[in-house]
Symmetry: C2
């Protein structure tokens, strides 16, 4: 059985994702598609719009065969660690290929770039440091370092978010000595960060979320998502009345910041002198998460950087907790859901897996699962009353979703 891997957030699953899935199958000629998907919290350091179980069902009903959870310790990290975690999971599962969307669309550009940077690594790192010293954020500094070093000889534009991720996928495949073959498809339509709809069928997840969180009815997004997504979002909205987001957790973050001294915050992952104080000071003044972020934001700290730190404060994830994640090799495979072909694929591979399969979160006391449980609890506290209990029941007692 030939398997292709994809790395996704599906927040929520939209037409662009469907196109990506279909192209993945065509390009890689795979029998099954395996998605490594973020759980409760996402790379930008925010809660998923709808819970992981709903998103898993969307994925399965839209053509994914197996959904594996990307653990919190990778899912909420910068591109390099995020990519290593995800690729190591796909590699452990023995997929044949990985296919990612990018602004470039040409896999040889990625390969040329990883080779080029590998050959110039010390100088590249020096230049990143230099540009950060000039007050640039890490992503901006990396892109400037690459441009200045390479003098535009390589055509890969490393200032584009999907190119950056793709670069790290390809690099992770090499670093892990994996046999996975990388493919990329062109993301020609909606840009990653676009807030507005400018196409009749494809809109970015950001713009869809932004509409939903601002209270637009689902009719406004019906053209941009496949039917199973629409149905699940409708269900979700009927049950919970609104969507998840930082606005549902800010009161907890604020409480945490106002009762913790900066020494204790300094143990939190991504803490950095000065930033802790800034968060505490701004939490005192800011009545909403939006205001809080606007107060904290500077040129030096990107929105994402601050959100991620705030998230780790909220989930009490320390530097110590994260240490074992930094080498990027995922220690277990947690299955969130599968179709029949996904199940067949899994039984074929089962004997040869080098890391354990986890189908219930209580099955193992791996420290990463302790962090996952804590993150789930925090996510649950964004719900009220019975919904809290329902989500936690799913999270603790569920076996994988099967359709």
């Amino acid at each position: 059985m030939k398997a292709a891997g994809v790395v996704v957030e599906y927040n929520p699953f939209h037409n662009g994702h469907l196109y990506h899935l279909e192209e993945t199958k065509k390009t890689t000629n795979a029998d099954v598609v395996i998605a490594v998907m973020s759980g409760s919290f996402l790379q930008r350091g925010e809660p998923a719009l709808v819970d992981k179980w709903t998103r898993t069902e969307m994925a399965l009903r839209n053509g994914v065969d197996l959904v594996i959870e990307l653990p919190y310790v990778y899912a909420t990290q910068k591109a390099e660690i995020f990519a290593k975690g995800a690729i190591s999971l796909l590699s452990s599962l023995g997929v044949d290929s990985v296919c990612f969307g990018s602004e470039s669309g040409a896999i040889e550009e990625f390969q040329k770039t990883t080779t080029f940077i590998r050959h110039n690594e010390p100088e590249y790192n020096e230049r990143i440091k230099y540009y950060m010293g000039q007050g640039n954020s890490y992503p901006k500094a990396s892109s400037l370092a690459f441009e200045s070093l390479d003098g535009h000889a390589n055509v890969l534009d490393l200032s584009q978010p999907n190119n950056i991720l793709g670069y790290h996928y390809v690099k992770a495949i090499q670093d892990l000595n994996s046999h996975i073959e990388p493919f990329t498809i062109l993301r020609s339509k909606a840009g990653y960060h676009d807030q507005d709809f400018d196409d009749v069928e494809i809109a970015s997840a950001t713009s869809i979320r932004s509409k939903l969180l601002k209270g637009s009815t689902l009719d406004h997004i019906i053209n941009y998502v496949p039917h199973p997504t629409y149905e699940k979002l409708l269900d979700y909205e009927h049950t919970y009345s609104d969507f998840h987001g930082w606005h549902k957790l800010y009161h907890l973050l604020r409480y945490k910041l106002l009762t913790t001294n900066n020494k204790d915050l300094s143990f939190i992952y991504e803490a950095e002198e000065g930033l802790e104080n800034r968060l505490i000071t701004m939490a005192k003044k800011a009545p909403s998460f939006q205001t809080f972020m606007e107060f904290v934001k500077t040129k030096r700290y990107t929105w994402t950087r601050i959100q991620r730190f705030a998230l780790h404060v909220l989930t009490q994830t320390t530097k110590e907790d994260m240490k074992p994640a930094l080498d990027g090799e995922a220690p277990y495979i947690r299955i969130l859901g599968m179709t029949k072909p996904g199940r067949t694929f899994l039984s074929e591979k089962k004997g040869a897996l080098s890391i354990p399969l986890v189908s219930n979160i209580n099955q193992s006391d791996h420290p990463f699962l302790t962090i996952e449980r804590r993150a789930s609890l925090v996510y649950a506290l964004g719900y009220s009353g019975q919904h809290q209990e329902d989500f936690l029941k799913k999270e603790y007692k569920s076996v994988p979703l099967m359709i």
Copy 2:
């Protein structure tokens, strides 16, 4: 100017408190009455029904001349430390007498008892240990130790809550070598813990709170509180729509317990092996504070003992933080409000005070005030939106209330 001191919570100020004030003036022949009053949180480890500023105004309009804040570090402690903190404040202010309500009503019983226990201290402490070893709570064990030691020769019933407090007031006066003369008046009517109204004019604060928190209208308590209290409660209810209590803070406590490991909880004041775990386990299960308390409660841990620990968890008050409070000598005098006579008294004493007067909480960075500010922030988080800001503005920017 002759001054009498009283130690109060006024949660809220009721007819029994008015009677106590009038009897205090009569018995001690004082020109002014000075109240040392708990702030945001009370001895039973719970938030005050209405904020300290509202309660200060009630006190002043009902006949108190000067309201001094009993700092959080004393106000939320067992009788011994609570009493020492309060008496040391009154002593620093140079009051001539203290008058407290008690089930006994006879001051010589208190004096006999302090003398008796002082003479038998090692044996008394041994017996307390013994009765605690039998699984009794500390208050119960103290009362059993006293009874067994004394063979009922002394008539003071140390199983009564106001007798216990009174005993510690008298003992604190002796320990501090203070010249304050103690008086007591009989609390003949509503018992401290009574949940029901069984008198036409006097009801315990507990029963009044219980009515209000269960949603009774203010008409139900109008006969049990003086008019200024009724007016202020009416105002408060119009503004905030309901009263403060643990139900407004449980979501924060729950979040805190679910994201903190038991090692970190073990640094919290009143933490004790086993109790931390119990709180974490029960927080997972209990959707409301009431259920949580019922789950945690055992014969060994009284309701109050657990509430106090939960409160220190909530306000992040550590053993280290509390250490300097245990000797009981208050380091500053924070004025919450005064009448004209109260002001005159203060100017008379000003030159002779051995500890600083604080009229704005930001005026000093004494560690006790850092704890006070944190406690105020937590109390404020029980309000929503603009009310939060309003309370904090009062707390941070206010000069004392003057009527």
